[in-house]
Amino acid sequence: MPAMHRFLPRSLLGQMLLAVALALLAAQTLSAVLIYRADHQRREAALISSLAFQLVADPRFEFRDGRRNGREGRRKVRIERALESPIHDGDLHDPEREAALRDVLIAQDVAIGELVVFSRKVTADSYVMRGRAGSLSGREGRWSLDGEVLLAGLKRAGNDEWLVARVPRPEHSTRALGGLILQTLLLYIALVGGLAFLLRRITRPLAALTERMSRFAGRADGVEPLEPSGPEDTRALIAAHNEMEARIAALLDEKDVMLGAIGHDLKTPLAALRVRIESVDDETERAKMAGTIEDITHSLDDILSLARVGHAKDPLERTDLAALVSAVVEEYEDLGEPVELGDTMRIALPLRATWMRRALRNLIDNALRYGGTAEVSLSRDNGYAAVCVTDNGPGIPEGEIAAMFEPFARGEVSRNRSTGGAGLGLTLARAIAEQHGGSLSLANRVENGRKVGLAAELRLPHGS
């Protein structure tokens, strides 16, 4: 059964079309059978009445023929008079038609002595063959040589003579059946085609809605709401969706405004504090205070950024990633931090430079915090640009790597090192990588079976 499912259509359009097509097929088959049967019965009735007509009407033709003095009437060819039963060996007795003919004759008050109905090949019928040979009739076209002839022999009660009537036995009306099937098929195709068109019209708004929703999920700003179209139900769905979309957009905007306000309200007092500590005379004390304020600011920025990372408003710009990486590394070098630039290569790809710098800084900060040093390299790998930040620290126990990406998670920090950062660094770096369609992974660096540090790899798709 599961294998069957693969061949069933999945879309609404496909399923509706399949259901309707099956129903239509059943209905049309039924009606085609009925038509065929009615047609068949009509032919049979015509056949029987033709035989009956010949048998009943014949004496009058005989009479006329007599008056015309031996000139042979055209219809004479049909009627044969015989003294013996016309049925021979090799003839196919047809009891059904015989019964039907009997009913007709009885209805005409014919006194039946004996009645036989049977068929034989045209070539086996000497009477017809003779008629054809002598061109007795212009109607030899009726008798095709490979056809069969249906004969009816009647001996009236109290009469010794058999009257034998002939009609071409209808072929198994395959041509009629073929025509019927063709007609049914054409009608079927026209109906299903029309339905497909109509159904498409009904389901198209749904497809548009689906596309719209996935675009909205990817946060497409500034697109006009979708015009309600399609059947009433779909219209209602689209209208409801538009309402929801507007509400979500409003909520997001509200969130941005709120975050801006939070940022403002927290950063202003921090700025005041930062100015005030300038009056602290003890220089080491002042540096510590400044460091703390910087840490708070950094955390605040991470939190605000994380909340905004999903719908960054700045555009992607084609940027030289190598230059970006080295610009970030140089900032650390200038501050005297042990950050080194490893191998790089020129790779240009669409980026949001501000965000990417932040992701890199977070990775480098992390390496410095836990590993003491950092080396940054850039390489190309299978359609991806890979920025690798490695340190020589203790690494992370294998089981805890996934947990490192959780907000506010932290590796075991050595007590005397700076503990700045809210533990959002990796979460944000990963979110930024994902914002660019890439990924971030952490792995321990192992040499000779010993952990020698941690490697963070940020991969960005490098489309064309």
């Binding site: 700025a271 300038e278 600011t297 030289d320 200038d334």
Partner: protein, 246 residues
């Protein structure tokens, strides 16, 4: 200017920041006037014209951006934004409407002082020429937007540079085809982050070459001059930003 103390107008609605900052700047030798909103700032401007305005963006009533437009259009006063917003787009908006620089709260007070001095230095040098800083530098297919600090290569790819590199490159671009020796370069690029720039000029030059030269061992753009210094080996044009972007 050297005889008289520099006069600053500090506009910020937050007294908790404004007052200690004014104190700090006074101690640094500036003459500071304070205003708690845009209306008071406009009133203060009627009495006297400061040398530079420090402006908060987010203020109740008229915001800093609108006031800045007024200041730069009608008075051509140098403006430094004090902003709590961090997003790059906000920063660029601030610069596009004519501010000369910005600091993001919480800023280091010393850095603010360095930036004030740097903006004033530029303002006196460029006196008369109307906002020359808006025009882009075009050289050898490259473009440098001095406001956004945005360098693009001949193919239009953004090449990120650090602020030290930006200042060094600007120095070269302001003196195309001239030989600049190390002392002169150091002097020109010593700006707000002078303490960060005590590394050898040569180091910065080689960084720039790594980003801009096809082969940094055989530099075509920034050439070493035998016996002392460097030279930008191409012509520089100033182009209007709109034209270049469109």
């Amino acid at each position: 200017m050297n005889d008289q103390p520099t006069r600053l107008l500090l506009v910020d609605d937050e007294a908790s920041l404004r007052e200690p900052l004014a104190d700090y700047l006074s101690r640094q030798g500036f003459l500071v006037e304070q205003a708690s909103d845009a209306a008071k700032a406009r009133a203060a401007l009627l009495d006297s014209t400061p040398d530079l305005v420090l402006l908060d963006i987010m203020m109740p009533g008229e915001d800093g951006i609108s006031l800045c437009r007024h200041l730069t259009e009608s008075k051509d006063l140098p403006v430094i934004f004090l902003t709590a917003r961090g997003e790059a787009t906000d920063r660029i908006v601030g610069l596009e409407i004519g501010a000369d620089d910005y600091v993001v709260k919480p800023f280091e007070p010393r850095e603010l002082v360095a930036r004030i001095r740097s903006v004033l230095r530029r303002a006196t040098k460029a006196a008369g020429s109307v906002r020359a800083s808006e025009a882009l530098y075009a050289f050898d297919g490259w473009l440098l937007d001095p406001l956004k600090r945005r360098l693009t290569d001949p193919e239009g790819t953004v090449v990120p540079i650090s602020s030290a590199e930006f200042r060094l490159l600007s120095a070269f671009l302001d003196h195309p085809r001239q030989v600049l020796d190390r002392d002169r370069l150091l002097d020109m690029v010593q700006g707000r982050e002078a303490h960060l720039f005590d590394r050898a000029v040569d180091n910065q030059v080689s960084r720039l070459r790594r980003k801009m030269e096809a082969d940094s061992r055989d530099p075509k753009l920034i050439q070493t001059v035998w016996g002392g210094g460097y030279r930008l080996a191409c012509d520089v044009e100033r182009v209007a930003p709109r034209k270049a972007e469109g």
